[in-house]
Symmetry: C2
Subunit: 345 residues, 2 copies
């Protein structure tokens, strides 16, 4: 399979490379693309030193599966080129996620949507993936009607430069030195702040919060599920945590939820009340599975239809690169017909 | 006024000393008490070097107002002694907070409760104070029926040693060195974890969460308000942040809430959508007021009766020492009668 990673030198691009390698994805030829600035640098893949090339229209010719891990603007410019050249694109940007004719996929939730693609599949927002992968089995059985999310988001969601800024600003703080933030809008050392996405001035919600709402509705195929989110950056490097409270149509107990999640794909229950051991970013980092714990009856709803729980997942893996590679694996399973269809489309 | 600070060398004790000084509290004689281990060390008060004495039964004689900033066990031992000797105790521990005959006070909410004291007034949990000081004017006007809280709690809540552990473990992490936590149960550097209070094995809630629920009900004199909390430690030094979502009996808009909070005591609205500027721990640190922002309609409740907002407050000041000194100021206002009453009780 001719595969390309566009934006391979970024935080997500780097993890895409690792995921393809460790999951033994059937790559015959791998094209590694990035901005002009990064062209010429080298990365390792399957033990070999490989040179990064500049992303151009030409560079996308002959690619069968193209993983895009670039900003929205670059995606809008080059995704259509890749599709035109016959690739199936799996795009990590938010540029196309809400287009009705473009599938938005979490393989544990809506794998069948892959059949509907016309050359482009969108990879969802990291916080949405991390919240809804464990919520899906619960939604299927108990019908979630209302969902309230507060996030504890890592630096990695803002890319490798933000991770570096967190380290450097913290180092400066501890040394008693001044530090001026360059990547993020607020001081990050030992601080917490509203997510740095643009704010809708009318509603007051930031872009990340609005993505969680609309993407969850699309992936669940449930336009009525009522959701609100509060998205917050915390000084953590690469795994997001989220506090979830949800109300179901029917009564549901923590035991019901725990039993469902014990066997849910992509999820690991970490819920040890005796030892006060629950999901933490340090444990979720570099792990494929989303950790779920603190499963308890929500005491703010006396009707017994609400549950609170706490999740943590690697933002760069299940929140981005891993989910994208899982989508590519779905494509391969349905292989020839799907890829042929896209070619002739 | 003969005043004592018990536990003066701790994080809260230190701030009690500063609050008395900068608020010009009428202190005629100040006794500074701590454990045997800390006795003999010195602290500064109003420009003078003062020696810390060992806390003993004798040391509490003749004290008129005693600020206790010690653990529950020490409070249970020495608070009754101070009361017996005629002091009015303001106790920062959780040992007595829920006793029906002991007032639990946030001066902006239930100042009149001070009249009911019998020598002992309890200072509430820090997260409860920080959440409910801004919620009170809303509750009075719109009647909050359901409240869901997720916290972003600083190290200071676990005392000065925890603050030090956060700094030291972070320094070690950045230097690539191993670090074994001694004060808190989990790695703190660039991590987030469930609050370290004991967990109720039946319900799964930690002690901090249960305190928020029961103390809010007591302070609001509203045993029916339905509350759930998720209490989480984040790598921040001394100010707590909280994500609050609440449902009122009647429809309420963000404009309604903002208007109420602009004039609310102890609160400062920081809610700049244009500049993405909202409450942050770095801004709340060393500030008396609780910062409130991100005031928006909760989109998970289509009935228009719910609001989400984000608050940040200094855990050591309004969350502890400042609130205690404010209670003492209430005592002074009602002065002679109240203090006389307690003396003769």
């Amino acid at each position: 399979m001719n595969v390309a990673i566009i934006g391979v030198t970024g935080a997500v691009g780097t993890e895409l490379l690792h995921c393809l390698e460790r999951r033994d994805f059937p790559v015959s030829c791998l094209r590694l693309l990035a901005s002009k600035r990064s062209a010429g640098t080298t990365v390792r893949f399957r033990g070999e030193e490989r040179t990064v090339e500049e992303l151009t229209e030409q560079s996308l010719k002959g690619v069968k599966i193209a993983f895009f891990a670039v900003d929205n603007e670059t995606a809008r410019t080059f995704v259509p080129v890749a599709v035109k050249h016959g690739a199936v694109v799996i795009d990590n940007s938010s540029a196309y996620r809400l287009s009705p004719d473009i599938p938005l996929i979490v393989p544990e939730i809506n794998p069948d949507a892959v059949r509907r693609h016309k050359g482009l599949i969108a990879n969802p927002n990291c916080c949405a993936i991390i919240a809804i992968t464990p919520l899906w089995p619960i939604h299927k059985k108990y019908k979630i009607r209302r969902l309230i999310i507060s996030t504890y988001q890592a630096a990695s969601g803002a890319g490798a430069p933000a991770m570096n800024e967190l380290r450097e600003s913290t180092r400066a703080f501890l040394a008693g030195e001044a530090f001026t933030p360059k990547v993020l809008p607020h001081p990050y050392a030992f601080n917490v702040f509203n997510h740095d996405s643009a704010i809708d001035l009318e509603s007051g919600y930031n872009g990340e919060e609005l993505k969680i709402v609309s993407e969850t509705r699309k992936i669940f195929s449930d336009p009525n599920i009522a959701i609100s989110a509060t998205c917050v950056r915390v000084p953590v490097l690469r795994a997001h945590a989220e506090s979830l409270t949800f109300e179901c149509a029917n009564p549901v107990s923590p035991g019901d939820v725990r039993a469902l999640l014990q066997n849910a794909p992509g999820v690991k229950v970490v819920d040890d009340r005796q030892k006060n051991y629950f999901p933490m970013p340090v444990d979720a980092s570099n792990q494929d599975k989303i950790l779920v714990g603190r499963i308890r009856q929500d005491t703010s709803d006396p009707s017994g239809r609400s549950i609170s729980m706490f999740v943590a997942g690697d933002q760069l893996l299940k929140g981005a690169a891993l989910n994208a590679v899982q989508i590519a694996e779905l494509l391969c399973e349905q292989e020839s017909p799907v890829l042929q269809a896209s070619k002739s489309a």
